[in-house]
Amino acid sequence: MENLKILKERKDQIYQKGSESFEMSCEKNSLAGSISQRACVFCGSRVVLYPIADALHLIHGPIGCAAYTWDIRGALSSGPQLHRFSFSTDLSESDIIFGGEKKLYAALDELIDIHKPKAAFVYATCIIGIIGDDIDAVCRKVSQEKGIPVIAVHSEGFKGTKKDGYAAACNALALLVGQGEISKIGPLSLNIMGEFNIAGEAWSIKEYYQKMGLEVVSIFTGDGRIHDIKKSHGASLNVVQCSGSMLTLANHMEEKYGIPYIRVSYFGIEDMSKALYDVADFFNEDPSVMNRAKEIVKQEINAIYPQLKKYKKALEGRRAAIYVGGAFKAFSMIKALRSIGMSVVLAGSQTGKQEDYECLRDMCDDGTIIVDDANPLELSKYCLEKKVDLFVGGVKERPMAYKLGIGFCDHNHERKISLAGYDGMLNFAREVYSSVKSPVWDLMP
């Protein structure tokens, strides 16, 4: 494995900082046959919409697509838990031949009667794109009959990558926005976007904003409710969290309702504080907002700093590899890892854009490997070459890292601890510390 062959066609998707030309050949389809870590359009839509807890999420297709996405992500709800059910039209052979529209209609009819959701999302999986069911028509019909929004999400897996799925989800949400009553919403108000309340993260972010004296109209989509989404156009600002999953909606709301947006990250002390300041800055007509933001930042940092320092001392000089979905997340990660004394020697993403990679290159130290849509062999090769101590990745990377004797931290939707905000940073440092310094590595053969 040490003398791994890299496919010719892949050479332009791997770059070592310091080597001459830089043109990441990204945003292209994976090579057939490479073991890509990428997922599909449906996956992207499902991630974004799934946290809306009082909606019905019906997956139109054969059983697998529904079975694999059944409650595997920890998007918490403070109320209804309907989103954690798995509903599927479970198409069989005759449906493939004769079409699945009747079945879809019957399923919606039954489910809405039983569960009385506030809205329903119907996800089209690959096969729907092939057999050509007119799911829009079915959704329209059911919507009229039941008097709730029934929305088709065009998420056929083969029609792109996860990013296209985000866009499909945003288009679905856009149909809800603007339907609610906004007369009671004040000017000091915002929507939190791209925050899915994994391990309760959205709750802590919301609390910061509320402490600053701001009204959080709606969270897209963590602990989400249809009612809140409908009136989200009453907010003065959209605050979009890094990953970019919500950009389509933010752009739409800017165009249609004139709501500006800013992009932030809640990961790491530096970016978290910047987020609060940027938001306060937007509301600068009321100086008390900024004052409160400063107060929060001071308090929170003071609260975690002593412990963070301890971790930093222990982790100083250790090396990390990061492999994330969208590249934007990598930026915060690099800063956060630096703040606990670690350097990033390998950075990659499944679906980054050219400008993301340029930005990554500018941030990284010389010698850092930057990869787009990497396969496990490449990842493991560079981990060994670069003597990595910690891998930050998702579910598929964890066992590989462990097999190589490398510590691991899950940054993805499956993690159980909150990584957002100041407490989140402390959690992150603790998790990194516990894995990198685990006594198990001394027992390795």
Partner: protein, 458 residues
């Protein structure tokens, strides 16, 4: 409470599945393919399916799971996936260097009608398959059957592609273990070896998906049945296949193709089913059952004797794969427990018939459903509760909602580790199952007993 959304009233549902008790064919095919040494499974379809299958297997086994994908895009889904698969085969042999690629289809490639066999032939003709390397395939449309069907189809493909009869019999038998866990496969082989039989077992995921930590990452771990072994199955004296749903087809095809007589048994779960397995082995070996095996049997029987009072009359709800549910139900009846609700997600007529036979003397009405889901099972439980629930990890929602003792068993298990290392087949596996059942029941009794009847000795 999470499942408070489950209503009591049971309606006939035709149009949908809620909280499935099955998943789709390709993941079973992928699992089976991993039981061949040096094999890279390949998903002929779009990326998402493959990512999901890999992630699910990764969560279940806590091991890296590798599989290629044809990465269908819009073009491929209009013009067919031939170009993608040809390129994939070429790329895979160039970078990952497996001994063979086991291609399975997905809903997408099935629906657009790709002819994988023809494509692999073309790959061979075009010289894309290096000398001594292989590409096999199984057709696994997910709108038919379940993950068990996919497993069965890939196992059958192993016979179709490899088994050869040279006319000269070899002194060995074939074992087809069914869709069971790696340690189960290990145990099935151990018992055969104790009988002094040489065996070829396929597929064999032991050592592949439960390997040791070595500090090295090996894409192709040491375990798995080898290709020469698979070829030799056509010369074996006989085949013992376990589980009609997962292994029946492969055994029959081998019989037809190479005249290797087969015996299709239930999975050797519990006392009687293991007895039948041992008996089949004994006949093949033509010897006495060795003392070691009798000893293990005696131990299992001893536990059943000692703890009978705790088993007596307990009502059990079960969900899982059909072969497992059939054998497990028989075991439960044997220890005086009563399966009252039995659900499998996999469709198929024989299932309900078998369960009804096994439970025909039950003092309670028995509800059984093939092609059912966990939502239905939960509704049954809510209407009348049970003393124990046995299901995969998703059962924990029901167990919590209805506050019933719960044993994790089946696929997937996403929150415990035992299934990777300890068998549930054979007499020893039976002992492990009993330990689990007793732990669950007695822990509950300890928890619920009022102080005055909280007992030390049980």
């Amino acid at each position: 409470m999470l499942l408070r959304h489950t209503p009591l009233k049971i309606q006939d549902r035709k149009a949908l599945s809620v909280n499935p008790a099955k998943t789709c064919q390709p993941i079973g095919a992928m699992y089976a393919a991993l039981g061949i040494h040096g094999c890279l499974p390949h998903s002929h379809g779009s990326q998402g399916c493959c990512a999901y299958h890999r992630s699910t297997l990764t969560r279940h086994y806590k091991e890296p799971i590798m599989s290629g994908t044809s990465s269908f895009t819009e073009g491929a889904s209009v013009f067919g996936g031939q170009a993608n698969l040809l390129q994939a085969i070429n790329n895979i042999f160039t970078i990952y260097e497996p001994d063979l690629i086991a291609v399975h289809t997905t809903c997408l490639s099935e629906t657009i009608g790709d002819d994988v066999l023809q494509i692999t032939r073309k790959a061979r003709d075009d010289g894309k398959i290096p000398e001594g390397k292989h590409v096999i395939h199984a057709s696994t449309p997910s709108y038919v059957g379940s993950h068990v069907t996919g497993f069965a189809n890939m196992t059958k493909a192993m016979v179709n592609y490899f088994a050869e009869s040279t006319g000269k019999k070899k002194n060995q038998i074939n074992l087809i273990p069914g869709y069971v866990e790696p340690p189960d496969m290990e145990e099935i082989r151990r018992l055969a070896e104790l009988m002094n039989l040489s065996t070829v077992m396929f597929p064999d995921t032991s050592g592949v998906l439960n390997g040791p930590q070595t500090g090295r990452y090996r894409m192709f771990p040491p375990g798995g049945v080898t290709i020469p072994e698979l070829i030799s199955t056509g010369d074996s004296m006989g085949t013992i296949a376990m589980g009609e749903y997962a292994s029946g087809d492969a055994a029959r095809v081998l019989d037809t193709k190479c005249k290797v007589p087969c015996k299709i048994l239930d999975l050797p779960i519990g006392l009687q089913a293991t007895d039948r397995y041992i008996d089949a082995l004994r006949k093949q070996a033509g010897t006495e059952v060795p003392a070691q095996i009798n000893f293990e049997r005696g131990q299992l029987l001893d536990i059943i004797t000692d703890m009978q009072a705790w088993f007596y009359g307990k009502k059990v709800a079960l969900a899982g794969d059909p072969d497992q549910m059939i054998a497990l139900s028989e075991f439960l009846v044997a220890i005086d427990m009563w399966p009252v609700y039995v659900v499998t997600g996999t469709p198929g007529k024989i299932f309900e018939k078998r369960i009804n036979e096994i439970t025909k003397n039950s003092p309670y009405p028995v509800k059984v459903k093939a092609g059912g889901d966990l939502f239905l099972l939960h509704q049954w439980i809510k209407n009348e509760s049970v003393d124990l629930l046995i299901a995969n990890t998703y059962g924990k929602y029901m167990a919590r909602d209805s506050d019933i003792p719960f044993i994790r068993y089946g696929f997937p298990i996403l929150d415990r580790i035992g299934h990777s290392y300890f068998p549930s087949v054979g007499y020893r596996g039976g002992m492990r199952l009993l330990e689990k059942i007793l732990d669950a029941i007695l822990d509950r009794k300890d928890r619920d007993s009022p102080e005055e009847s909280f007992e030390l000795v049980m």
